[in-house]
């Protein structure tokens, strides 16, 4: 079972790198969907399947694999701006940063005391890497959609960590978290829609009316 978990974790890392190197928004959304599904599967392949785990995993797959991509694609479709990712940091540089992030995550993991009941030794570093890569995406990309994607990557990292490390988290909390994330993305989607309508772009870099 460790092997399956590791495979999923590797998928997560690979999709993150893919995301860092992608230039089209639409494909970014799709990659994110794949990552979402992989995150969902992580729960199922990780250990004994209980109803709780199954239900949550299903919810994750549905939300992250279907609902979010759909929402974001809609927001993207209705915006009449460029469908290019507009990076502050170029794709090659982003990939290099990704490598550094991965290295750092492994190093950080080695610094922390080991957690006794981790599903796989890869869980913690991968979760960290996702978290930081997500933050990096938010910082290094201009479009609002991309920032939401970054947020999702971050979220996936946290989820991974949660599922890999704290398996006993009660379902209610998990569902609550999931619910919040869903609402967050939903709200962000609406916000993007309205920003697009008001500003004629979803370039969050250009939202600089307020300063000082």
């Amino acid at each position: 079972m460790n092997a399956w978990t590791d495979i999923m974790l590797v998928v997560l890392i690979l999709t993150t790198f893919w995301l860092l190197g992608s230039s089209r928004l639409a494909s970014c959304i799709r990659i994110c969907a794949i990552q979402g599904v992989a995150t969902g599967l992580l729960g199922v392949v990780g250990g004994g399947i209980t109803i709780r785990v199954a239900a949550i995993s299903l919810a994750v797959i549905v939300l992250k694999g279907l609902a979010f991509p759909w929402l974001l694609s809609r927001a993207l479709r209705e915006s009449n701006t460029s469908h290019e990712v507009q990076p502050f940091v170029g794709y090659v540089a982003s990939l290099l940063v990704g490598v550094v992030i991965l290295g750092l995550s492994f190093w950080a993991d080695s610094c922390l005391p080991s957690l006794s009941h981790v599903a796989s030794r890869l869980v913690v570093p991968v979760a960290f890497a996702l978290l930081i890569a997500g933050l990096f995406l938010i910082v290094a990309r201009k479009t609002a959609v991309n920032q939401v994607l970054g947020y999702l990557v971050m979220e996936n990292g946290i989820y991974t960590f949660g599922f890999g490390v704290v398996r006993e988290i009660p379902a209610l909390v998990e569902l609550g978290v999931l619910m919040d994330v869903f609402v967050a993305v939903f709200v962000m989607g609406i916000a993007i829609y309205r920003i697009n309508r008001t500003f004629d772009h979803i370039d969050s870099d250009q939202l600089t009316l307020l300063k000082g």
Binding site: F88, L135, V139, L210
Partner: protein, 661 residues
């Protein structure tokens, strides 16, 4: 303690009533002053009883505020400072009633009187408080209420500037006091004054507390260069308020300093040197800047700085006396400083009231717009003259007595061993002499330009004497100036408990006896001088030549028609001195001379901005503002970077807090 509580209650109640009836100015004009006067009576009674009969008490009430207890007490020092507070407040209230009459219906008199009575109450609380929090609250209430009083004519730009400067200065001063009280309260964990004496055990902390007190209280008292608010706020406030602020409110700073000294144990010599240095600087520079002013109230405000300098000089000499084991010197120094507190309260409020009456009558505070008012305002002029003579330290008035005591103490120090002590005494003597001469110059200028000669403007020409409410308080104060001057040997007896309290454990011996003889002679000389003057005046009157008196125009070396415009102006009167001290004053001169064959106009004007404001605070404020505005780019509006801040903070904290382990 009942009278004190009654006084506080009356002041607070009438203050609130004034606010409640704010819509009816007539009524407020009755309630406010009446409350101020009524409240001061029991307080006056309590203070005199404490001072004369030695009835000392403290009142403890529980007070649910962290660190606070409602502890008030009356001892010699408190009583001594209470006296001028209640006296001046009452008189200023009587004066203010008439002074504010033209504003009825145009200005918020309700707020003004409310704040006035609050100011009186908070000043009383400041000198009676025996708990740090209570003291600070009263202190701040005092600052705040006087701030609102200053802002009475807030629509004027200079008034707003003054209010801002005042509140900022006083608040920064309070910050120092905050730290000081915290420091003093730490050994016992309580902010009651009883326990503050513990600090004396650690001299380093005591010195720190002393420095904090000097800065904190010095800001309120107006030590140069902490005085910046003074020449702004006093002119801006209505005159009766200036009288209270300049006459007594700044003295609460002196009170605070003295109260602090009581806790700090035996003073090292350098405290005395520091105070003498402050006294010299404040005194000399205060009077120099006063000399360079041509706004009457600003001039008076600078004189407050000067007089605070003299007070501090006395206290500094007293501290040196204590430190170098000259009990008589210590006693005389303290006595001189303390007596000057009262004296300055009397003549400074008298002068501000005079300035107010002039302003009231002519609408101008510009010296060079006035002139010849002695004929139209005889009462105001005469009392102003008395005040001017008193503040110049001339015998037989009260100013001389206190300056004499300080001189006396300083001369006593000359016999001390130790060159620094002698030099400090010498510095005090020289600066007192210089201050005396310059003050006389300044007040002859002020009095001469306002009241003597011919009117320089039509307003001054049509001036009218103020009403009875505005005439009576100055007359009373002038009488007090003379009374204290000629009853000095008895007055010193009143000071005795106060000075003895200040000396702490040091036994001062029978210092009043030592001081009484010279003071008695001074008093006799004063009386003799008056008598001799009367005799000479009588002789002059009886001379047969009296019958052959003629009237003519001023001789003026042959000019046929001297006009008022040809009179010496205030600026030109002071010009030789201000030029002589030009390096310190930094006077801006604007001159456009006559040009061409038929020059039609020429002008010359001077302005002396405050040195410490221009050269010390302004650059610092500008530098801080620049430094702060450098930070403003961090709020540039870019969301990506904002999130980067979060990430960086996270990383920074992780490396900082975990890097070590």
């Amino acid at each position: 303690m009942t009278p004190i509580l009654t006084a506080l209650a009356i002041w607070l109640a009438t203050g609130v009533l004034c606010l409640a009836f704010a819509k009816r100015p007539r009524l407020v004009q009755v309630i406010g002053p009446a409350g101020a006067v009524l409240g001061s009576l029991p307080a006056l009674f309590a203070a005199s009883r404490a001072l004369l009969c030695g009835s000392v008490w403290t009142l403890h009430l529980p007070w649910p505020l962290p660190g606070a207890n409602f502890v008030i007490g009356m001892d010699a020092i408190s009583a001594f400072f209470t006296l001028p507070i209640v006296l001046i407040c009452a008189l200023a209230a009587i004066y203010g009633r008439e002074y504010l009459r033209p504003y009825e219906g145009r200005k918020a008199l309700g707020t003004s009187w409310c704040m006035f009575n609050l100011l009186a109450a908070s000043m009383l609380l400041v000198v009676l408080a025996r708990n740090g929090v209570l003291f600070l609250l009263a202190w701040e209430a005092m600052s705040l209420s006087s701030f609102f009083l200053v802002m009475f004519e807030g629509e004027k730009t200079e008034v707003r500037r003054a209010g801002w400067t005042y509140l900022v200065a006083t608040h920064i001063g309070t910050a120092f006091l905050l730290v000081m009280f915290v420091l003093l309260g730490q050994p016992t964990g309580s902010l009651d004054f009883d326990g503050f004496g513990r600090i004396a055990g650690t001299p380093a902390l005591a010195s720190l507390a002393f420095v904090l007190a000097v800065v904190g209280f010095g800001t309120k008292a107006g030590f140069m260069p902490l005085h910046v608010w003074l020449p702004e706020a006093h002119p801006a406030a209505p005159s009766h308020v200036s009288a209270v602020m300049s006459g007594v409110m700044i003295k609460t700073g002196i009170y605070g300093l003295l109260r602090t000294l009581l806790w700090l144990g035996p003073p090292p010599l350098w405290w005395g040197y520091l105070l003498v240095a402050i006294g010299v600087v404040s005194g000399v520079l205060g009077v120099l800047f006063a000399l360079a002013q041509h706004d009457l109230k600003r001039l008076l405000a600078y004189h407050s700085v000067e007089n605070i300098g003299i007070i501090v000089l006395g206290l500094g000499i007293g501290l040196i006396g204590l430190g170098s084991h000259h009990p008589l010197v210590a006693a005389l120094g303290f006595a001189g400083g303390l007596l000057h507190v009262v004296n300055h309260a009397i003549f400074k409020s008298l002068l501000f009231m005079g300035a107010g009456s002039v302003l009231h009558a002519t609408g101008s505070r510009e010296l060079d717009q006035l002139g010849g008012l002695l004929k139209s305002m005889p009462s105001t002029g005469a009392t102003f003259l008395a005040g001017a003579a008193a503040i110049s330290g001339l015998p037989p008035l009260n100013g001389f007595v206190s300056e004499f005591l300080i001189y006396f103490a300083a001369f006593g120090l000359l016999g001390a061993s130790g060159i620094p002590v002698v030099l400090a005494a010498l510095a005090a003597i020289v600066s007192l002499a210089l201050i005396g001469g310059l003050a006389a110059a300044c007040f002859t200028k002020a009095f001469g330009t306002i009241f003597l000669g011919e009117a320089r403007s039509s307003q001054a020409e049509h001036a009218h004497e103020a009403g009875p409410c505005m005439r009576a308080p100055p007359i009373l104060l002038a009488a007090l100036c003379l009374t204290i001057g000629v009853t000095a040997p008895f007055v010193i007896g009143v000071l005795k408990p106060v000075v003895n309290q200040l000396a702490g454990t040091t036994d001062l011996g029978d210092w009043t006896g030592a001081a009484a003889l010279p003071l008695a002679v001074v008093a006799c000389v004063g009386v003799g001088l008056l008598a001799l003057f009367c005799i000479l005046a009588a002789v002059r009157a009886m001379l047969p030549a009296r019958r052959m008196t003629n009237e003519a125009v001023t001789w003026d070396c042959g000019y046929i028609a001297p006009t008022p415009r040809m009179q010496y102006t205030a600026s030109s009167f002071a010009d030789p001195l201000t030029r002589f001290f030009g390096a310190v004053l930094g006077t801006h001169r604007k001159f456009s001379g006559p040009r061409g064959f038929f020059p039609d106009s020429a002008s010359y004007s001077t302005e002396t901005p405050d040195m410490s404001r221009e050269r010390l605070y302004k650059p610092v404020f500008i530098a801080v503002e620049r430094a702060m505005s450098k930070f403003r780019w961090i709020q540039h509006g870019r969301l990506n970077l904002y999130i980067l801040y979060i990430v960086l903070t996270l990383l920074a904290l992780l490396t900082w807090k975990l890097g070590k382990s």
